[in-house]
C-alpha cells in the first residue's frame, strides 16, 4: 500500500462494492495494530464492520504456527455452520481490492478484556453462564468436519508440541530446572490421544467476546490446528488465563465440571477434570516458553521495548504454576 490516501480510497471502494453505493463508508478507526494483525472498525449507514488485515497488507504470519488470514476466514465460516458463536465473515479480500490479505466481518459488540469480565458487576450473570457456554462452543468447534478444512490447518498433537517447544527452549541455552522436570514428567505421563479434532488453539479470555449474557463470539482463529480436544479445554484453565482468580479453574470465572457437563453431553466423550491435568501442565509450559520467546525479541535487539524486556520476568509465574501442578500430581 503506497500511502494513507490510497488505503482510504481502497476502503471506500471496497465498502461500496460489498454494501452498495447508498450507504457509503464514513468512519474509519484503527482498533489495534500489533505486529501480527491490523484491526479496523469501518462504518457507514447501518453497516458496522471489522476489517482484519495483515500489517500493511503484507502477508506475514504471527508465527510459524499461524494459518494466515484467508484460511482464518474459511475456518470462521466453517465454525459458523457448526453453530459456534462467531462474527459473520462478510467478504474475503481479493487481489482486486488492493488491500492485501484479510477479511471483513460483522462487528460484534461486547468486552474482550479479562479484568472487567472477571470483576465488574455488569458481568456477574455472564460469569455464571460462561463455563457451560464455553463447553457448548468447544463441543461445536470440535464437531467441525476436519476433511473440509483449508490445507493451512496442520496436525499438532501433544507430543509434537512438547518436541517443538523443547527445541525452542534448548535453543535459548538458558536452563531452567523446573522446565526440565516438567518436560520429563510430561513425556513420562503422556495420555493416549483422543480422536483428532479441529482445535481452536487460543481459546481464552482476550479472544472471547463477552456481553452481559455471556459468550457471544469466539475470535482469533489464527492458531487453529488439528489435535486433541483436551488441549482447548485445558488452555483456558492455565493459571495465567485465570487472571488472578485462581479459585475458578475455567478462565477465572467458572468450574471445569460445569464446562465438561455440557461438553461431554454434546460431544459424547467422557472427559474428567483429571484428564485435563496433563494438558494444563503442557499449556503452562508452552506459555512459559512463549514468554521466553518474547523476551528473546528484546535480548536479540529485534524489539527494544520495556514490555518485551519485562516479560522475561514473567517466566517465573509459569514456573510456580508448574511447581503447584507437579506437587498436586505427586501428593
Amino acid at each position: 500500500m503506497g500511502n494513507n490516501s490510497d488505503f482510504e480510497t481502497a476502503l471506500h471502494t471496497l465498502f461500496a462494492r460489498v454494501f452498495g453505493e447508498s450507504q457509503p463508508l464514513n468512519t474509519i478507526k484503527r482498533l489495534s495494530g500489533g505486529a501480527s494483525q491490523e484491526t479496523w472498525a469501518l462504518s457507514g449507514g447501518e453497516h458496522a464492520v471489522i476489517l482484519r488485515r495483515a500489517p500493511g497488507g503484507a502477508s506475514m504470519a504471527r508465527s510459524s504456527a499461524a494459518i494466515g488470514l484467508s484460511a482464518e476466514a474459511k475456518l470462521i465460516q466453517a465454525a459458523d455452520r457448526a453453530g459456534v458463536p462467531v462474527p459473520g465473515v462478510l467478504h474475503v479480500l481479493e487481489e482486486k481490492d488492493g488491500l492485501g490479505d484479510g477479511f471483513l466481518m460483522s462487528r460484534v459488540l461486547g468486552e474482550t478484556i479479562a479484568r472487567p469480565i472477571l470483576r465488574d458487576e455488569a458481568y456477574s450473570k455472564a460469569r455464571a453462564q460462561m463455563s457451560a457456554q464455553c463447553g457448548e462452543a468447544l463441543a461445536a468447534i470440535h464437531s467441525i468436519p476436519i476433511d473440509s478444512l483449508p490445507p493451512e490447518v496442520q496436525v499438532s498433537d501433544g507430543l509434537a508440541q512438547i518436541a517443538q517447544y523443547e527445541e525452542i527452549y534448548r535453543g535459548f541455552d538458558a536452563p531452567r530446572p523446573v522446565f526440565e522436570l516438567t518436560l520429563q514428567w510430561l513425556k513420562a505421563n503422556a495420555p493416549a490421544p483422543l480422536d483428532t479434532v479441529l482445535v481452536h488453539g487460543d481459546f481464552r479470555l482476550g479472544n472471547l467476546m463477552v456481553d452481559e449474557t455471556g459468550l457471544v463470539a469466539v475470535l482469533d482463529w489464527e492458531l487453529a490446528h488439528l489435535g486433541d480436544p483436551r488441549e482447548d479445554i485445558a488452555w483456558i484453565c492455565v493459571n495465567s488465563w485465570r487472571f488472578g482468580q485462581s479459585q475458578n479453574r475455567v478462565g477465572g470465572f467458572g468450574a471445569l465440571e460445569d464446562l465438561l457437563n455440557v461438553y461431554n453431553q454434546r460431544s459424547r466423550l467422557s472427559i474428567t477434570p483429571n484428564d485435563v491435568d496433563w494438558w494444563e501442565m503442557l499449556g503452562t509450559l508452552k506459555w512459559g516458553i512463549m514468554c521466553m520467546i518474547m523476551y528473546e525479541a528484546f535480548r536479540s535487539g529485534a524489539d527494544a521495548s520495556v514490555e518485551r524486556a519485562a516479560i522475561g520476568r514473567r517466566v517465573s509465574e509459569t514456573e510456580i504454576d508448574l511447581i503447584n501442578l507437579l506437587e498436586a500430581a505427586h501428593a
Partner: protein, 124 residues
Amino acid sequence: MHDQPSVAELVQAVKNFIDETAGPNLSGHAAFHARVASNALSTVLRDLEQRPTAEAAERARLLDLLNTPDDTPTEVLNRMLSEQIQAGQMTPETEGLLAHLKATTIAQVEIDQPRYSGLKTAKS
C-alpha cells in the same frame, strides 16, 4: 566510592518521575509502557534487596543436592541440576528436589511478580 544517592535511591527517584510526572502526561500505548516501566523498576528494587539472600540459600540447597565441590559456581550447579533431570537421574520423587525447586521459584516470583496468584497457592 560514594553511595549518596544509592542505586536503590536512584531507581526509586526514576520510578517516582515515571509515576508522578511522565506517566500522567502520556496516553494510549505510551501510557501502558510507562506502567510496565514503573513495574520493571519495582522489580529492580526487590531484586537489589532480596537476591543476595535468596541466591545464597539456593546455592546451599544445590550443594546439598548435587554433592559437588564447594567452589562450583551457582550457574554451573544449575546446569548440572538441569542435566541430571533431563537424563532422568533426578525425578519428582528424588528426596529434596521438589522442595528445592519450590523454594527457589517462590524466591524468584517474590522478586518478579509478588502479587501473582500462583505464589499465594504455593505458599498456602
